[in-house]
Symmetry: C2
Subunit: 495 residues, 2 copies
C-alpha cells in the first residue's frame, strides 16, 4: 500500500497558512458540536520514527479545547501493565462520549515495532491482529469515530532527520541506538508495516496513509481528514455508527448446548452434616489452589448472575472465606456511574480485571447488557443482539490471556423467591436487602426467563462455560459452586 504514496508531495508555507486557517477554525467549532452530540473520537498516529507524529499532534491539539481531549504516548508496556491482557491498557484509555483520545503510537505498536523486541510467534501475531480487529469493531459499532494515520517517510529522509536531531545538543538524546537499527532495517520494517496496514484496513476503520516527507503537506492531509470525518458524522448520523458489513474477523463461535431453566431440577439438597463436611473440605482445597494459582500467575474470574434473592452473596462469601484477602477482589456491579455510562458497556469490566495470579469475583456482570438493559430497553435491539458476540470475544480474550473463567447462574424458582422476599421484609437486619425494584423485577419473571435462556444458550462457550447452580437449597448451591471452581482449577493445573 505504501509504495503508491507520492513522497515528493509538498506544500508551500503560504499555501498551508491559507488552507489551515479555515481548517483550524472548523476544528474548534466541530469539537464543540461533537461534545454536544456526545460523539467520541479516537485518532491514532502510527508511522516511522521521526516521521513527525509529535509535532503533528502538537499542531492539531493547539486548536482543540483542552477540556475535551487527551494525548497518550504509547511505549512498551510497564511491568504492571504486563500483568493484564495486553489490550486492557488501550480499553482503559478510550475517550468518554464527546471526548477525543489521541494516540502517539497505539495498539499497533504491538504488531509492528514490538515484533523485534518480543520475537512473536506467527500464532501470537495472528491473535493480536484478531483482537485489534475485534476492538476496533466494538468501539466503532458503539459510535466512536476512529481515524488511523500512518506517517510515511523514506529511509533517506528518516536518516536525515535522525542526524539533524543528533546535531542539536538539546535533542541529541532523543535518538537511540534502536532508532538507528530501525533505520538500517528499513526494508524489514516496511514489510511489517505493510502487513499491518493490510491486515487492519477495515471498512469501519480504514487507514489514512500520509505522505510525510514534507511536514506541512502531512499536516494538511491530517487536518482535512479529521475535519471531514467530524463533519460527515455530525451531518449524517449523530451517535449511530455505520455498521460494518460482512467482516467477521474473529474465530467462529459455536456455543455449547445447555439446559433450559425450566428443565432444571431444583429439588437437590444437602443435609447439614454433609454440608459442613464438604464445606470444610472445599475451603481447605480452595485455599491450597489459590496459593498455586498465585505462584503460577494464573488469573481466575468468577462471574455470578442469578435471580434476586437466589443467594449470590452467601455463595460468594463461602468462596472468599477460603481465600487470602490479598489475592482476590469481589466486584459488585450496580447501575453504571455517569462516567461508566459515558463509555461502551464493556469498558468498566476491562478496568476491573484482576492481575495475573489474582481472583476477581463479579457479583453481577457484563451480562447486564443482555438481561436488564435489554428488558428495560436501556439499549437498542441492535446493541443487545451484537452483545452476545462481543461478550463471547471479550471472554475469549481473557481466556487467551490465560484466565480461568467460570460463570454461575444461581437458580431458584418463583415460590422460593417469594418466600425469601417475605423473610427479608420481616427481618429488620435484612430489610435493606429488599427494595421496590426487586418486587417490580419479580413481576417480569417470565420475560427474564426467556431472556436468560437465550443468554445461556448463546454464551455457553468452551472457554467460559455457564454452570447452572440449583439454589432452592443454599447449602447444595454453595458446595456445587465450590466444587466447580476446584475442578476447573485442578484441570488447568493438571492435578
Amino acid at each position: 500500500m505504501l509504495e503508491e504514496l507520492d513522497l515528493k508531495a509538498k506544500m508551500e508555507k503560504d499555501e498551508w497558512e491559507q488552507a489551515s486557517k479555515e481548517l483550524k477554525r472548523k476544528l474548534g467549532v466541530l469539537q464543540q458540536r461533537m461534545r454536544e452530540l456526545k460523539i467520541p473520537m479516537v485518532i491514532v498516529f502510527e508511522g516511522w520514527g521521526a516521521s513527525g507524529k509529535g509535532s503533528l499532534i502538537s499542531r492539531l491539539i493547539t486548536n482543540l479545547d483542552p477540556r475535551g481531549f487527551s494525548v497518550y504516548s504509547v511505549i512498551a508496556p510497564t511491568d504492571d501493565e504486563k500483568r493484564y491482557p495486553w489490550m486492557r491498557r488501550f480499553w482503559s484509555k478510550l475517550p468518554a462520549y464527546g471526548d477525543i483520545a489521541i494516540f502517539d503510537r497505539s495498539w499497533y505498536r504491538e504488531v509492528s515495532v514490538a515484533r523485534d523486541e518480543e520475537d512473536l510467534s506467527k500464532e501470537e501475531l495472528e491473535k493480536r491482529y484478531e483482537e485489534i480487529q475485534e476492538f476496533e469493531r466494538q468501539i466503532t459499532d458503539d459510535g466512536c469515530i476512529l481515524l488511523k494515520f500512518f506517517l510515511h517517510i523514506s529511509q533517506k529522509e528518516q536518516k536525515h532527520r535522525f542526524q539533524k536531531l543528533e546535531d542539536h545538543k538539546e535533542t541529541a538524546w532523543r535518538v537511540t541506538k534502536t532508532d538507528w537499527k530501525h533505520n538500517r532495517q528499513y526494508d524489514k520494517n516496511l514489510e511489517y508495516f505493510e502487513q499491518m496496514l493490510e491486515r487492519t484496513d477495515l471498512p469501519q476503520a480504514p487507514w489514512t496513509l500520509v505522505s510525510a516527507n514534507d511536514q506541512r503537506y502531512a499536516a494538511w492531509q491530517v487536518f482535512t481528514t479529521v475535519v471531514r470525518a467530524m463533519e460527515m458524522r455530525i451531518e449524517g448520523q449523530g451517535l449511530e455508527a455505520p455498521v460494518m458489513q460482512g467482516v467477521r474477523v474473529s474465530p467462529d463461535i459455536t456455543p455449547n448446548p445447555i439446559k433450559k431453566l425450566s428443565q432444571v431440577d431444583l429439588d437437590r439438597s444437602l443435609d447439614q452434616e454433609t454440608y459442613e463436611k464438604e464445606l470444610k473440605f472445599c475451603q481447605k482445597r480452595l485455599f491450597q489452589l489459590h496459593n498455586r494459582l498465585y505462584q503460577k500467575k494464573i488469573p481466575l474470574i468468577l462471574a455470578y448472575e442469578g435471580w434476586d434473592a437466589a443467594g449470590k452473596g452467601g455463595n460468594i462469601k463461602r468462596v472468599t472465606r477460603a481465600l487470602d484477602p490479598r489475592g482476590y477482589e469481589v466486584i459488585p456491579i450496580c447501575a453504571p456511574t455517569p462516567q461508566e455510562k459515558n463509555h461502551q458497556y464493556l469498558w468498566r469490566f476491562w478496568n476491573a480485571l484482576p492481575k495475573d495470579g489474582h481472583i476477581a469475583i463479579f457479583d453481577r456482570t457484563w451480562y447486564g447488557r443482555v438481561m436488564v438493559e435489554r428488558i428495560e430497553k436501556f439499549c437498542t435491539q441492535a446493541q443487545w443482539e451484537r452483545a452476545y458476540d462481543e461478550i463471547n470475544h471479550f471472554e475469549r480474550q481473557l481466556f487467551d490471556w490465560g484466565a480461568i473463567i467460570l460463570k454461575f447462574w444461581i437458580h431458584i424458582d418463583q415460590d422460593e423467591q417469594l418466600r425469601r422476599f417475605e423473610e427479608r421484609q420481616n427481618t429488620p437486619e435484612k430489610q435493606y436487602k429488599i427494595t421496590d425494584e426487586d418486587w417490580r423485577n419479580r413481576e417480569k419473571w417470565d420475560a427474564y426467563e426467556v431472556t436468560v435462556d437465550e443468554m445461556l444458550m448463546r454464551t455457553n462457550t468452551d472457554w467460559a462455560p455457564w454452570i447452572i447452580v440449583e439454589s432452592n437449597d443454599k447449602k447444595y448451591a454453595r458446595i456445587k459452586a465450590m466444587k466447580a471452581i476446584i475442578e476447573a482449577v485442578e484441570k488447568r493445573l493438571d492435578l
Copy 2:
C-alpha cells in the same frame, strides 16, 4: 509502647464464638448505617511479618458487604509509582464517603520495614513522618474514621510461625530470606516500630496496639475497636469529625507579602512587533528547557487561576505550543464529578499529578476550595479556613518531591471583563464560552476580590509563589507568564 502489651493474653474458642457472634452482626448493620451517613473509614493493619494481618482482615471482611469496601495490600512501590510523590498511591486509594478501605500494610511501610531497603537519611525519615501526620490530619478533619492497628508478636512466636509456614508445601514459598533477616534483627525492627508508633500516635488517629500471639484474642481486640469506633461516630457526630487540638505537626508556614489586586497596574502592554519577537524567543527557550526537565526528571506544575474571560486559555495555549505533546498535559478543572464530590477536595488533584519530568498545566485548580466553594457556600467556614494550610502543605509536598510550582493569577479589571463578555456574546463561534453563570459571577466581583486577596496573601509561599499577571493586554500577559516559567526553570537548572 509495645513492652506494655501482655503477649500472654489468650481467648478460648468458646469465648470467641460467643463474643464474636454479636460483634459480627453489628458490623454488618453498622456498615449499612455508615453508608447512609456517608462516613468513610480507613483501617490500617501494621505489624510484624506473620503476625496474622491477612487472616484478621479475612475474618473482618467476611462480615462486610463487598459493595462497600476494598482491601489493599501494600508492597514496595512499582517503578511507575516511584515517579510520583510517595504519598500519592495512598491518596488515590482513599475510600469514597460511606466506603471502607482496609490496608494490609500502608504508608507506615515507608517509615518501618522500608528503612532497611532504602537506607533513609534522618531528614528524609523526618519528612515522611511529617507528611504522614499531615495526611492523617487532613483525612480525619474531613470526617474519615481512621483506625490503626499494630499487631505485635514476640520474636519467638514469629520464628515459630515462619517455621510452620515453611513446613507446609503450600505455604513454604511465602517465607523469604528477608523475613528471616527481619526475625534475626527483631530488636532493631522493634526500635523502628517503637519510634514509628510514638511519632504518629495522634489524638485524631491513635494507634491500637494488638497483642497477637493468640489469634482469637487479636481478632477480638480488632473487632471490638472497629465496632466501637463506628458506633461512637454514628451516635455522636455523623460526618463531622473531632477537630485535632494543638497539634501542629508541620513546618511553620509564613507566606510572603504580595500586592492587593487593587494595587496592580493594569496598563501594561506590548506592541505587536515586540510581542511577536518575544513570543518566538520564549517558545524556543521553553522548548529547550522542556527537554532538559524531561531528561533530569523534574516535574513542572503550572496552576492557572483568574477572572472569567481574563485569558487563561489563550495564555496556556501559547505555553503548550512550545512543548512536546508527549511531555505535558492540560488539566481543565470543572465542577467535581459525583465520584470526586465523594472524596476530600484534594483527592482529585493528587490523582492528576504529572509524572517526574512531565508538565501539568491546571486550568483552574485546588484554589476553587477557597474561592467559589467559599463564596457559594459549597463548604463550611471551618473547611475553607483550614484549606489554606492544607493547600500550603499539599504544595510543599510537591516541592519536596522535586516539582517546580508556579501559580498564575490572570488579572483584568471589571471594564475589560465586560468588553470581553460582550464580544463573546456577539461572536457566534465564541458564544459557547459565555454562560449565565459567568454573568452571575460577575455580579459577585467585590466578594471575589476580597476572597482572592486573602487567598493570595495566605498561600504565596517560597516553594509555590503566586504571580499576578496583568492581562488587560493579553500580549503582555502571555509574555509575562512565559518569562516567569523560563526564569523559574533556569533557576532550578542552575543556568
